[in-house]
């Protein structure tokens, strides 16, 4: 069992879950959080995680954490993956652990590794300016045997190292490149459009093997999802399990949790989108905890522990043959209008048997959305549903995603 976990970043739900497990941990985060940590008796090391210098580096942090007897580092969000990787390299005496962390932080490198290992990926390239994107799109058009007058092939561009949908742009034509791309987008990854139905998995890995695989059904990317997966994806569970394990083998991932996104085609082929190794957004682990009746946040942390025993692992995760009784889903509510002053919760929601609760709040008078939203921006609250029928769940999530809550 780990002597002490270093949780790098800040997440109250994770900290609370760790408190409940009674396992030793220390939080490493910015000085801003220190007073709160002190007030709530949270073991804490303040560290400038946004700085890399003679006084702020992994060796220095390693020294500071010695006092806590830390032997496992866990990243709580995207930007702390390298820090955790560097520390774990030291703890495990394996420099490649850090390199692997870099893999998660560079989408081009990640794709290349996936391609070498034999995962299905799209055509991709690092691009440095708009001309580069156009050239990429033209070559793609050529490869797709475009005839005069036909539409251009779709291209996605993504920053190398951002979480989820931040900075992601879909370009449908050469004209789009000029219209939608900013000089500040570059350099980045350009990639052909992957066909198929998108979903994500959360694979909890220990000693290189999947200990528990969660599949999240996306109803609308960035807006709504539910767990466990619906009937169709469930019928493909073995295929998905195999492919995720394959990815883990290719990347050489030994400990922690990966959150890959896939596209499942009608021919049962899985296209690899990308993967992260941090806590996914959209309250996914919360839903996962409810459906599978375990503490997914604690499990996320503990699966990073190389010294944990099989028995201990069995205690944390749901039984191998566990069947969730209910589907748990949520929809994140974004205002559809630019300006609004009231929160109006539709009557239908009160009477909806699947409805559980919401976290919506009223806007302040005449609230406006700023024009520059990144990714999906901040949602104004979540509505949670629970029920036995995945099709009804899908229907509800679709319905309430479109409903106007802010007027």
């Amino acid at each position: 069992m780990a002597k002490c976990f270093a949780l790098i970043g800040w997440s109250l739900p994770v900290i609370e879950s760790m408190q409940k497990t009674g396992r030793p941990f220390v939080v490493v985060s910015f000085a801003d959080f220190e007073p709160y940590a002190a007030e709530n008796n949270i073991p804490f090391v303040s560290y400038p995680l946004d700085e890399w210098s003679d006084t702020s580096n992994s060796i220095d942090l390693f020294e500071k954490l010695k006092a806590f007897d830390v032997d496992v580092a866990v990243p709580l969000y995207e930007e702390t993956v390298e820090w955790a990787g560097a520390l774990n390299s030291i703890y495990r005496g394996d420099p490649r652990v850090l390199n692997r962390a870099f893999l998660f932080r560079n989408k081009a490198m990640m794709k290349r590794k996936a391609l070498i290992g034999g995962l299905r990926v799209g055509l991709f390239e690092e691009v440095f300016n708009k001309e580069g994107v156009k050239a990429f799109m033209k070559r793609l058009n050529q490869a797709n045997l475009q005839v005069d007058g036909e539409e251009d092939s779709w291209v996605h561009i993504k920053p190398f190292a951002s979480a989820g949908t931040v900075g992601h742009r879909l370009l449908r034509s050469l004209a789009d490149v000029d219209e939608k791309c900013e000089d500040s987008d570059f350099p980045c990854l350009a990639e052909s459009h992957l066909p198929g139905r998108e979903f994500s998995c959360e694979a909890f890995v220990n000693k290189g093997k999947i200990r528990f695989l969660n599949i999240t059904e996306y109803v609308k990317l960035g807006y709504s999802n539910f767990i466990p997966e619906g009937k169709y994806l469930e019928s493909k569970r073995d295929l998905i399990h195999k492919e995720v394990q394959k990815m883990i083998d290719i990347f050489g991932i030994e400990y922690g949790m990966v959150h890959p996104e896939w596209f499942l085609t009608e021919k049962d082929e899985l296209n690899f989108g990308e993967t992260a190794c941090r806590i996914p957004g959209g309250h996914i682990l919360e839903l996962c905890s409810k459906s599978y009746e375990f503490d997914a946040l604690a499990a996320f942390v503990i699966s990073h522990d190389p010294n944990i025993t099989e028995e201990e692992l069995d205690e944390i995760f749901p039984a191998k043959d566990f069947k969730p009784k209910n589907y748990h889903g949520n929809v994140m509510i974004y205002p559809h209008k630019r300006q609004f002053s009231k929160l109006e919760i539709p009557e239908s929601l009160n009477n909806e048997p699947y409805f559980v609760e919401h976290s919506l709040i009223a806007p302040y008078e005449g609230q406006k959305l700023s024009a520059d939203r990144d990714g999906f921006g901040n949602h104004f609250g979540t509505i949670n549903f629970k029920g036995e029928d995945p099709d009804r769940m899908t229907e509800l999530l679709k319905h309430y995603e479109k409903e106007e809550f802010y007027v």
Binding site: L12, I42, K342, E347, N350, N351, P353, V356, E357, I361
Partner: protein
């Protein structure tokens, strides 16, 4: 709405358990989720009762920790309304906090600092500050600001508190409230009746204090307006009593009833029975029973045949309030106008369109089974004609329509009757705008989504059509680079409206332009010191900025400026009709429209002239008459108004100093 199942309760319990089980770090997040259950539960009576039973448990689980509700002894009754208006989650926390207080007040739980008496007086204050929720009659501002669901929550909460709590301390305040409502002589008396009934049911009014005496007048007016009614309670007993009563007894009854009606503006069902009993056999008692003045008596003598038929056909136990309208019609000599008489004769003979009939019946809370929709309609018409300033818009955004009905009733009663006949028989209305006929049934929706039926009968009949036509006129005049009301008001209300129009808002520059020039016209047109001491003849439809009690801009509203005159204390005041059911408001900057005691006629609101000017954004005037007087308005007056304007709604606009050619 009723809850479909016990699922809401189970969900709540689960969420509460999660909240209790959570550590300090995620308490806040769990509390937010728990609040969403409170939000739903507070929509129903059974939900509130459930929350009431849980409120102290929640409190002990530290649901309020880290919020402004944490220390119940530090809560301020005056702030409750604000949090309720703010919406969820604030309103849900507030709801629960009140329920907790109610438990303390009733001694069902004990708080270490807040005594039962403290909790009691806190809740009393809360009720007094929130009568609009307690009586389900929200103000203009509240209706604009609160979503329907939140209104429902507030109504429900106060209904619950009022039924559970000892209301003694609210007594005096309620009496004052009743007096001020009745002083305004609304046509729709349900609010006053509910309040009086509430006081009657929940309080001991038998004492000898001034307050006790005052409230007994209102209670008597409704429940025992005469010695006979007191001794013979109930319709049947009273009818029986009348059969055997001698003329002297009847004369006494007539006198008592007439006086009470005139003092309160309220009519009791007994008066209906009485009036029908005497109208043929004891004609001479009718003027006494209606408490008529000399002009009214002369009018009655001349037209007693028509008036008697109207009484016999229209008046009933439930349809009694129209007796007051009838008395007022007689006092104003409306029957002397041939057009009015003919109109009423016509109205008696119409067949009401089934759709209209449905609307009428829907607006009644306790209709007499034997009284037809037509009878209610005639009664309603009499009320509107007798009390033009008693028209209200109810919970509808239709101030323009209400203003129209009131204006026609005052200045063109026969035209109004005619319109009522057309709409009642055809469920349709045609009005002309510029060169087009606007047929209401061919028009798209107006401002109104769903009519609130808490309205007088005439409004229920007319407003859906007037609203659509008004809206269409507005639509047709939009985009003309000036306020559409400039064209709509004269077309909508009639030739009484002056064609000159001034608005301080400039469409081209999207700013408040030449405000001093604009105010100067307002003074030169209406202020007796600067308009050659001319009195207003017709109401003037003016647009005003509605501001909150902090003076912040909230929205627009339509009122009618009726007259500008010196008050009994010699102050020049603007007297106006606010079709919002409640004339007393707080517009911030100490601008508090008064409804009583400052020279107001029943139903009027009034403000010092400069304060009124500081809220008006558009009005009609006669450019020819004003031309030579504009420069006589002193600069200090203008500055006073401009200061008030700039420091309130003016903060929401750009101001443009450019001079405008008016």
């Amino acid at each position: 709405m009723e809850l479909t199942s016990d699922k809401v309760f189970t969900n709540f319990d689960q969420s509460l358990q999660e909240f209790i089980d959570s550590g300090t770090l995620t308490k806040k997040e769990k509390a937010a989720k728990l609040a969403s259950h409170i939000d739903i539960l507070s929509l129903t009576r059974s939900g509130l009762a459930f929350l009431y039973s849980k409120s102290v448990e929640l409190d002990r689980a530290e649901f309020f920790k880290g919020t402004s509700w944490n220390d119940p002894d530090k809560l301020v009754p005056y702030l409750v309304k604000g949090t309720l208006k703010y919406g969820h989650p604030s309103s849900s926390f507030e709801t629960l906090s009140e329920l907790r207080m109610l438990r303390f007040a009733k001694g069902e739980d004990v708080h270490k600092v807040v005594s039962a008496a403290d909790a009691q007086s806190f809740l009393e204050e809360v009720i007094v500050h929130n009568l609009e929720f307690a009586l389900r009659e929200p103000t203009e501002e509240t209706r604009m600001r609160m979503p329907e669901r939140e209104l429902k929550k507030a109504f429900n909460l106060f209904g619950f508190i009022m039924s559970e709590m000892d209301l003694k301390g609210v007594y005096e305040k309620l009496i004052e409230e009743i007096r001020l409502i009745c002083e305004q002589r609304p046509i729709r008396t349900s609010k006053a009746r509910e309040l009086i009934s509430l006081v009657n049911r929940r309080f001991d009014t038998s004492g000898n204090s001034e307050k006790d005496k005052a409230i007994r007048v209102y209670i008597d007016a409704l429940y025992s307006p005469s010695k006979g009614a007191k001794a013979n309670e109930g319709k049947d007993a009273y009818s029986e009593f009348l059969k055997h009563a001698d003329e002297k007894t009847l004369a006494n009854e007539a006198l008592e009833m007439g006086e009470l009606m005139n003092a309160t503006g309220l009519v009791s069902g007994y008066q209906a029975i009485f009036l029908k009993h005497i109208v043929n056999e004891y004609e001479d008692l009718v003027p006494i029973c209606l408490d008529l003045n000399d002009r009214g008596i002369a009018e009655w003598e001349k037209y007693s045949e028509l008036v008697s038929s109207l009484i016999l056909e229209t008046v009933s136990w439930d349809n009694c309030q129209c007796i007051y309208g009838l008395a007022r019609m007689l006092r104003k000599n409306l029957f002397s106008r041939r057009a009015v008489r003919v109109g009423l004769e016509n109205l008696r003979r119409i067949k009401v369109n089934p759709q209209v009939e449905k609307r009428i019946l829907k607006s009644l809370s306790n209709p007499d089974a034997e009284v037809t929709a037509l009878q209610y309609l005639i009664g309603g018409t009499i009320k509107v004609l007798g009390q033009p300033l008693g028209v209200g818009q109810g919970n509808n955004p239709t101030c323009q329509s209400a203003r129209g009905i009131s204006m026609w009733s005052q200045h063109s009663p026969a035209k109004l009757i005619d319109m009522i006949i057309t709409v009642s028989t055809q469920n349709n209305l045609i009005m002309r705008f510029e060169n087009q006929n606007l047929i209401s049934n061919n028009l798209i929706k107006g401002l109104l989504d769903q009519l609130d039926y808490n309205l007088d009968v005439v409004s229920v009949v007319m407003v859906p059509h007037l609203d659509k036509i008004y809206n269409e006129m507005m639509r047709l005049s939009t985009g003309r680079l000036d306020d559409p009301h400039k064209w709509v008001n004269p077309a909508m209300y009639g030739q009484w409206i002056q064609v000159g129009f001034a608005s301080c808002y400039d469409y081209m520059s999207n700013s408040i332009m030449d405000f001093p020039g604009y105010v100067r016209i307002f003074y030169a047109a209406f202020h007796p010191d600067f308009n050659g001491n001319q009195h207003m003849v017709y109401p003037n439809p003016v647009g005003i900025f509605i501001t909150s009690n902090k003076g912040d801009m909230i929205g627009f509203h339509a009122v009618s400026l009726l007259r500008v005159e010196k008050s009994p204390k010699g102050e020049v005041r603007a007297y106006f009709l606010n079709p919002n059911n409640e004339g007393r408001q707080d517009w911030g900057q100490n601008i508090l429209p008064s409804v009583h005691g400052k020279g107001e006629k029943k139903g009027e609101s009034s403000l010092p002239f400069d304060q009124f000017a500081a809220r008006v954004y558009a009005f009609h005037y006669s450019p020819l008459d004003v031309k030579n007087r504009i420069n006589e308005v002193p600069a200090e007056e203008i500055q006073k108004v401009e200061k008030l304007a700039r420091e309130s709604w003016g903060k929401s606009y750009m101001w443009n100093q450019q001079t405008k050619l008016w």
